[in-house]
């Protein structure tokens, strides 16, 4: 178990180091950093001086070391567009993205599990077939198209929900939250559905398939023979056993939700990290791009690690086999 833990930690460190190298290469070699600081008519001598003061003439390895050191201390450089530290910009926008990702995951899990269970238990009904069709459309349609469709229906035509922004937010310490105001909650609905729809269809299909599988097993037949109520069999035995893979997928998808919020945040002009990143790509703001890349990599690696470890905790069979191979 300890060997497994160390090996996984080492793998995670390698992945982060590789992404860090890419982020550094972007930071250093994509475009000339000096050009981003000075005006077009700055003399060459002054440019050389700035180069020197930024340490751009040092050996590349030394520069990478310095960059890595800065990143570890939470310093990602200064944004070209905003002339502010990237760390401050990202920290300001992180609550918006995390709240959106949380609501989207909540939506995906609750609705996905409900629909999946229904589809498995009432396989031949019209509603189940409708859910299946919706899931196919949900997987196929691009996220931004779904967002536009929702805006058209609920904002333009019906006028029920806002189409952009976070509504009123409340500031608690360094965290701005939209959970405490009515307009903030209303503003969360459409973006959460847009962002969570793909994961919802995924979870629905997974729960349906797993349920159908489990319902065929012997212990379900035995539970029926014992005379348990259908409700107890379906929800106490069958559903419980389908939830392990569902939790894994939901956990692994959390990273994707955060990354895919780029698109949803653009559609709804949601002031989160994804929108910041898209604006950075449009305006060639390399420090923000590399910082975001590193941040997402860190989130992904952490989630993968935690899910792997949880797996061994939840399922004792894995613990022994993993211990043997490691």
């Amino acid at each position: 178990m300890l060997a497994f833990l160390i090996r996984r930690l080492a793998q995670a460190a390698v992945v982060l180091a590789v992404v860090g190298l890419i982020a550094f290469a972007m930071f250093r070699f994509a475009g000339d950093p000096v050009n981003q600081i000075v005006g077009p008519d700055t003399p060459v001598s002054e440019r050389a001086e700035i180069r020197k003061s930024l340490g751009l003439d040092d050996p590349v390895l030394l520069q990478f070391g310095r960059y890595a050191g800065n990143v570890l201390r939470g310093d990602f450089g200064i944004s070209y567009q905003f002339r502010q530290p990237v760390t401050t910009l990202l920290a300001e926008r992180m609550p918006a993205t995390l709240e959106l990702a949380f609501c989207a995951t909540l939506f995906a899990l609750s609705v996905g599990i409900l629909m999946g269970v229904y589809c498995a238990l009432r396989r031949e009904t019209f509603l189940a077939k409708l859910f299946q069709a919706i899931s196919l459309v949900g997987v196929s349609l691009p996220t931004f198209l779904i967002g536009i469709l929702l805006i058209f229906l609920f904002s333009v035509t019906l006028g029920w929900l806002p189409s952009y922004g976070r509504g009123d937010t409340v500031r608690i310490g360094g965290w701005t939250t939209g959970f405490l105001t009515v307009s903030g909650l209303k503003a969360l609905i459409l973006p959460s559905i847009t962002l969570g729809l793909f994961q919802m269809t995924l979870i629905m299909r997974l729960v349906r398939a797993e349920m159908l599988e489990v319902l065929r097993t012997d212990y379900i037949r035995f539970a029926r023979a014992r005379g348990l109520t259908t409700r107890a069999i379906h929800f106490g035995h069958a559903l419980k056993n389908t939830l392990v893979p569902v939790i894994t997928i939901a956990g692994l998808q959390l990273g994707s939700v955060i990354a895919f919020s780029i698109i949803t945040e653009t559609v709804f002009q949601w002031p989160g990290m994804g929108l910041l990143f898209v604006q950075a790509v449009q305006n060639v703001d390399i420090p923000i791009m590399s910082a975001y890349l590193l941040l997402v990599a860190a989130i992904f690696v952490t989630i993968n690690l935690v899910v792997d470890l949880l797996y061994t905790v939840v399922d004792p069979r894995l613990r022994t086999s993993v211990g043997r191979t490691a």
């Binding site: 992945v15 972007m26 994509a30 931004f144 189409s163 994707s256 950075a280 449009q282 060639v284 997402v296």
Partner: protein
């Protein structure tokens, strides 16, 4: 089975073999399966229609949407023809610059399909090549390629495409013209989707490598590249077709998303994604047709290709038969 499909596709190049190969295809399980599945026939028909429309766009559209001289501001913001305010020949209405929406959609469809297919070709070449090399040679080369694949697989493709796009823009600056932008998007898509091909091809190659015919080819002194390309490759292409079909839909979505985010094709040469991006602005002023028709075209295209890919995967899966 996939090999048979392959032959049918090559039939025109080999006229003497045509009857037998065509007959073989018509007698195959794949064709039977296809004729029995209404969904597959429908999806195939829609896909074919979309390809036909895209191919014929320059001849059937009433207007060339890339030519500013053909745009008349007097014709701007016209609703579709069935609306009382609609005007002929603008069947689906016009946008704020007097551009015919139908023509824009047809040309956009053409561009989306071209970029999507080129993206699939680039990612396919890259993935198949790396997969072949990794599977055939094994060892350190294999480890490096597959580790890179693992790392990349943890990131969503759209993020990689965005980063490649942004870095290229930073490096080349404003020197990029429209053709270079298209190329850039194709490369970003190619770099984002190669992993699946590489993994599939690698695992098949590792099985093939130890078979007698490869040993025989080695014994008669053929070089590794020749064995890989001429002997191993034809035996591992089956699953690649399924991945390519599904990836075509993904590539089209990725291009549309990049364009929608404003980092893809410019407004002077709009793909479906760019059209949706520009049309989105008019949603609130009531000009719904500017965004609705490109959206429907994109959704229909992607859905049809996806259904076709799903069917192909099931039809070629021996476990399900």
């Amino acid at each position: 089975m996939s090999a048979r499909m392959d032959d049918a596709a090559e039939a025109p190049d080999a006229p003497r073999a045509t009857p037998s190969r065509l007959a073989r295809f018509l007698g195959s399980d794949l064709w039977l399966n296809f004729r029995r599945s209404k969904l597959a026939i429908g999806a195939f028909a829609v896909t074919l229609l979309m390809f036909g429309l895209a191919f014929a766009a320059p001849w059937i559209s009433p207007q060339n949407p890339y030519d500013p001289a053909q745009l008349e501001l007097l014709n701007s913001n016209l609703p579709p023809l069935w609306n009382p305010d609609g005007q002929s020949p603008f069947l689906l209405g016009t946008d704020d610059q007097g551009r015919d929406v139908l023509s824009a959609v047809l040309y956009g469809l053409r561009l989306s399909l071209i970029v999507g297919m080129l993206g699939v070709v680039v990612s396919g070449f890259l993935g198949i090549g790396l997969g072949l090399v990794a599977g055939y040679f094994g060892g350190a080369l294999d480890t490096v390629i597959m580790r890179v694949a693992d790392v990349q697989l943890t990131f969503p493709a759209i993020l990689i495409a965005l980063v490649v796009d942004g870095v290229a823009k930073a490096s080349f600056g404003s020197a990029l013209d429209t053709n270079a932008t298209i190329l850039l998007i194709v490369v970003s898509i190619g770099l984002s989707f190669w992993v699946q091909y590489a993994r599939t091809v690698r695992s098949s190659v590792m099985v093939e490598r130890s078979k007698d015919y490869v040993q025989a080819a080695r014994l008669i002194g053929l070089s590794s590249p020749v064995i890989m390309v001429r002997h191993v490759l034809p035996n591992v292409t089956g699953p690649v077709f399924v991945i390519a079909t599904i990836n075509l839909a993904l590539a089209i979505i990725t291009e549309a998303t990049l364009s929608f985010l404003g980092t893809g094709l410019p407004e002077t040469m709009p793909s479906l994604g760019t059209l949706i991006r520009t049309g989105n602005r008019f949603l609130f002023s009531g000009e719904w047709w500017v965004v609705a028709f490109p959206g429907i075209a994109l959704a229909g295209l992607v859905l049809a290709i996806n259904l076709l890919g799903d069917w192909l995967r099931d039809a070629l899966n021996p476990k399900l038969q």
